[in-house]
Amino acid sequence: MNVAARVEQRVFMKGNEAICVGAIAAGCRFYYGYPITPQNDIPEYMSAHLPTIGGTFLQAESEVATINFILGTSASGKRVMTSSSGPGISLMQEGLSYMAGSELPAVVVNISRSGPGLGGIAPSQGDYFQAVKCGGHGGYRMPVLAPHSVQEMYSLAMLAFDLADKYRNPAMILGDAIVGQMKEPFTQTPYVPTVSQEKPWALTGCAGRPRQHVKSLYLKDNAIEVHNWKLHRKYLKMQEEEVRYEDYHLDGAKIAVVAFGTAARVSKTAIQWARREGIAAGMLRPITLFPFPGAQLEEIAKRVDVLLVIEMNTGQMLEDVKASTTFHDKIRFLGKPCAMPTPEEIHGELRKLAGRGR
């Protein structure tokens, strides 16, 4: 038994709180936010804990102000996080575009709810397009991580900070009301940094060096075109180096579920039931929604009879699945907008696809 294993703690917590523990473990000492259901556990946790460890919690007047507090603290070279839900994340799109353009790292958590508009507070995956395609102007990308357990809420929070710093870019954690509000035990593994946190570009006053700027305006000649290609190369590198997914019983599978987050978590139960009945079901679970595991999906599509895409929306990741494979005739879709599909529903669908009675 090594030392690290001995100090690892097993704790019982809500997903939203586990994100905070992961963020603090990764060195985040600044959190700004604005109340919105179903993510209020995050600002509440941060407002109680950050001041006790020399950190700063500040409640903003709006999500528009929040993302700009984030911009200022990120430009100061500090690890910083915010969280919100769909409507608030919409208000942050302007700031996210500016941060992508200015190459500023930060972690933004979306514990999404049902939309469009005020929608409802039920769990949903309706913000996939906004997160993955990026809802702000001008064309940019950001890593999007999709936890499906409280354990991953903790560990992906730490990873998000490293990805943000590695690429000098905002990174998003896309959860929902279920994975945010549910409590389960998780192992508090220590944070092991994978990137340098030195930020020579930070605005800290120009003592002993020439003045420097953090900006996204490029007016001279073709400077903005050069800047766009530079950003594009960064997004290509993310696609080359950051694809993460879980292969769940795919070996020998004839039906491959493709699902993320809560939909994937529920699918695991249904897949276990189906496998006990001799149905060869498995799952490709994207952990990074951007970059999307498209190459892996195409490999699996070659081997299976059916790709069953399951989402808590009317079909958004479905478009990325279609774009990743030529086997469109193998794709089936089970959508539950604004609600969690039950294991029974998914199990029934797997039985149907396997030619069994319901």
């Binding site: 600044f30 700004y32 700063t56 500040l58 903003a60 007047e61 709006s62 528009v64 102000a65 929040t66 700009n68 507090f69 984030i70 911009l71 200022g72 603290t73 990120s74 430009a75 100061s76 070279g77 500090k78 910083v80 302007e94 700031g95 500016y98 200015s102 605005l203 800290t204 006053g205 120009c206 003592a207 002993g208 003045r211 420097q212 700027h213 953090v214 900006k215 996204s216 305006l217």
Partner: protein, 259 residues
């Protein structure tokens, strides 16, 4: 002539402030951004803050601040400079943090951010340049556009029945508890420029003494978009603009009321 007399005539009495970059100005003839920049640079030098300052530039003509002031500068989305400055100041309370914003930026799209920064008593300094129009985008109507003033989007003149009234930000922000200092100045005469510099010094002192939010509103010109000669633009500031937007100090917190 004695040596003493010669000294008198060769003594340097005025020089480029250290914090002002030695580049040719791109601003239009008669524009006051250059004067405001010089006052800002002189005040940074006066307090010896050049290497401990982070500025926040806004959207509009004012964004080019970073070409002229020799300090670290972040660029904010339109209207959001006080929120960006909040993020900088909270992360680095030991730095001097200021924003430099125009009237479209601060008094229209950014009213929420500036009011709440002031109300929090955010320990930052705002330099607000009010020229009653959107300069960079071609002279559209601003919230500070005078009644009757013709702009590219109020071609028949601003009408209060349709567009409301020019907003008085220095007075409005002075009503908030978190505001330590609020003043309106002009820079159309040498005497006004001297007074403006005193006001900016006061505003800096508020932040240095950690007394809260400070703002100096500059009545400025935009001869290009006003369709005026530079000299006529000065007369407009001294006349109708100063009548509607009275110059003066609207709030000045004393150390005693703060403690």
């Amino acid at each position: 002539m004695t040596d003493r007399g010669k000294d008198r005539f060769t003594k340097k009495v005025y020089a480029r402030p250290k914090s002002l970059v030695d580049v040719k100005s791109h601003f239009c003839p008669g524009c006051h951004h250059g004067i405001a920049h010089r006052i800002l640079a002189e005040t940074i030098d006066h307090f010896g803050l050049r290497e401990q300052t982070v500025g926040v530039a806004c959207v509009g003509c004012a964004v080019f601040l970073y070409d002229y002031i020799d300090v670290d500068v972040a660029e904010a989305p339109h209207g959001r400079a006080p929120a960006v400055a909040t993020g900088v100041k909270r992360a680095q309370p030991d730095k001097f943090v200021f924003t430099y914003q125009g009237d479209g930026d601060l008094a229209a799209i950014g009213t929420s951010e500036v009011i709440h920064a002031a109300n929090r008593g955010e320990n930052i300094t705002v330099l607000f340049v009010n020229n009653t129009t959107y300069g960079m985008t071609g002279g559209q109507m601003a919230p500070t556009t005078m009644l009757g003033q013709k702009t590219s989007t109020s071609p028949y003149g601003r009408d209060f029945r349709k567009d409301g009234y020019p907003i008085k930000m220095a007075e409005l922000l002075a009503t908030l508890e978190g505001t330590a200092y609020s003043a309106r100045v002009a820079t159309s005469t040498p005497a006004q420029i001297r007074k403006a510099k005193e006001a900016v010094k006061k505003a800096f002192e508020m932040q240095i003494k950690e007394m809260g939010f400070s703002i100096v509103e500059f009545l400025s010109t935009c001869p290009t978009n006003w369709g005026m000669k530079p000299l006529d633009a000065q007369k407009r500031v001294l006349g109708e603009m100063s009548e509607y937007f009275p110059l003066g100090v609207y709030k000045e917190r004393k150390q005693a009321d703060f403690l």
